[in-house]
Amino acid sequence: MSTIFSLSMPLVIAAVAICALFKKTDMFPALTRGALQGLFTIKDMLPALTVLFPAVYMLRASGALDALARLLAPAMAYIRVPPETLPLALLRPISGGAATAAAAEIIKSCGADSLAGRTAAVMIGSSETTFYVIAVYFGAAKIKNTRWAIPAALCADLAVFLVSAWVCAMLWG
């Protein structure tokens, strides 16, 4: 089972390549065009991360993150969520860059295969930058009265926060 997941990347690549061959797609230009797109993705990420990483690293170095985690430990233990992930969950709906910085910091300091590291990865992998999406969509559609879209979206974010931690604890706890 775990072999399938560790092979998922090459398997997807192979499957897509075979489909593209059958469709007689002009493959190589498409691949290089896509790889260039990746460069733009990194270009969009780098400035925000360069600004946000220092803030997260400073919080960690000051001991404030550890103090917060210790303070929250009883409450977080009660809802069975790793306390390190609370800052990530609070930043997630507001800023994609800040959430990425927070998740990368947890993965680095707790370890990529630790429970907190995995939980952080699952949280960020199964959520979006809620307020950014809301601003873009309602802005483009010229909507002033958003009715219940924001509370419903935040319910979904809360579900991600809890369910990611529970599923990770179940699978790797």
Binding site: M9, P54, A101, V122, A156, D157, V167
Partner: protein
């Protein structure tokens, strides 16, 4: 603006707490370490990101995204019954959901916006209709099948199998979409 306030708070708290903690030097060093780590991360995940983007572009080029969009139509018709009568909405809507599933972020947003604008024209001007709220909730919950960026970060930080979080991501995504849509449905019913 909000991010500026949060950023300033993070730095101010670090300095104050660090000084009271005797960690002032560490805080000063951390600012530079953080900036360096941001560059380091972008470089170490750059290869994986570019490779994935290449595969995704091929997916689009080979018509896989379009085929998925067609397959999603019956489901979307049930979720968006009013919009289903308009091909000008259903076409970008199904393209949006299919691009979201495949992680084609650059393709998903323009399509989603077109669908949102179409839905906005159907209802009262300036007020989000039930279906428009549903579309936004669907887009604020992540339904990406392969979370490539975070997998690349895990790989760069030495994960044994960066993608072994997939089952957890799928369960968590599915639950969050269900909770979001259910919450929307409940609030919709209450205000009728």
């Amino acid at each position: 603006m909000l991010m500026g306030v949060i950023w300033t708070l993070m730095i101010a708290v670090s300095i104050l707490y660090g000084c009271s903690n005797g960690a002032a030097d560490a805080v000063a060093q951390a600012a530079l370490d953080g900036a360096e780590a941001a560059f380091g991360l972008c470089f170490s995940i750059g290869g994986a990101i570019c490779l994935w983007c290449a595969v995704m572009e091929l997916m689009k080029e080979a018509g896989l995204a379009a085929r998925l969009a067609a397959a999603l139509r019956p489901l979307l018709k049930r979720l968006f019954p009013k919009s289903a009568e308009y091909e000008s909405i259903m076409e970008p809507l199904s393209a949006n959901v299919s691009a979201n599933l495949l992680g084609l972020g650059n393709a998903a947003t323009p399509m989603g916006i077109r669908a949102a604008q179409g839905m906005a024209r159907l209802g009262e001007p300036g007020v989000a209709s039930d279906e428009l709220c549903r579309l936004v909730v669907l887009n604020t919950a992540s339904i990406q099948l392969l979370p490539t960026t975070i997998a690349a970060i895990r790989g760069a930080e030495g994960a044994a199998a960066p993608f072994d979080i997939l089952p957890a991501v799928w369960i968590s995504s599915a639950v969050s979409v269900a909770v979001g849509l259910l919450a929307a449905r409940l609030m919709e019913g209450k205000r009728r």
